[in-house]
Amino acid sequence: MNYEYMFAAYSVAWVVIFGYMFIIGKKHNKLKKEIEFLKQLDK
């Protein structure tokens, strides 16, 4: 019934979307840490 193709395609799509969001989130956290550090430095 071709389920495997559908499954493969949708998992790829979701992996890519969530992967992108995950990478953005990671960058975001890194930046947040940097901001914290800078704030401490400023004091």
């Binding site: 019934m1 193709y5 395609a9 949708y10 790829v12 799509a13 992108y20 901001i35 704030k39 430095l41």
Partner: protein, 253 residues
Amino acid sequence: MSMNLEREKAVLTGTQLSEVKSTNLSKILFGATVISMLISLYFIFIFAAEETTMHAAQKIFYFHVSSAWLAFMAFFVTFVFSILFLIKRKRIFDTYAYVSAEIGIVFTIIVLTTGPIWAKSAWNTWWVWEPRLITTLILFFIYIAYIMIRQMDGVWDKKARLSSVFGIIGFADVPIVFFAIRWWQTKFHPIVFGDGPSQQGGGIESSMLVALLVTITAFTILYAYLLNKGVSFENMKIKVDRYKEKLREELEK
């Protein structure tokens, strides 16, 4: 050329490094994305009629087409903001162009992976040298090149200027690439909408069309969310960079 005029001296004075707040808009967009995605999944898997020759594999169609739509829209937005940047020279336009290109690439990757999976299930071959597929592949390469221009070293306005120029040229190239390849060889994709010779009957059932439109809407909202998120992140990064500049100047005193 060698114009390292170090123009990035617009040091931020007295910046309050406010927390990267997820603003109201971002929250609303996130919620809308989740809801519309769930609705679109309902429409795809439950509401839409199942295709008779390809069965479940036909469901790939919805995400494939929507991703392609999103990628093209994203590149179009890059094109528009590139022009705006060259006219107005505001950094925010450049940020929008960059983030949009990045999102476009992500969804081009989805198109380029779901496409072969579809091809394998429908035509029993992974890759077909077919106009739309090749055009998408070339589009992918063009915008990878665009990102590579952004990764150049130098002051931001030089990079922004050059990548805007390339964003315009690259987008202008896309229709010509498409027509050239279409002339070169055209066999596979059935023309779904409008008249035209198509394979296996062609056309689209109304329930499928509804599901497709719902999915496209969901993807558009997802795009808005990602764009908003990406732009606020880039803005924050710019602020931090300026702040670092300021700290360094204080240290040098």
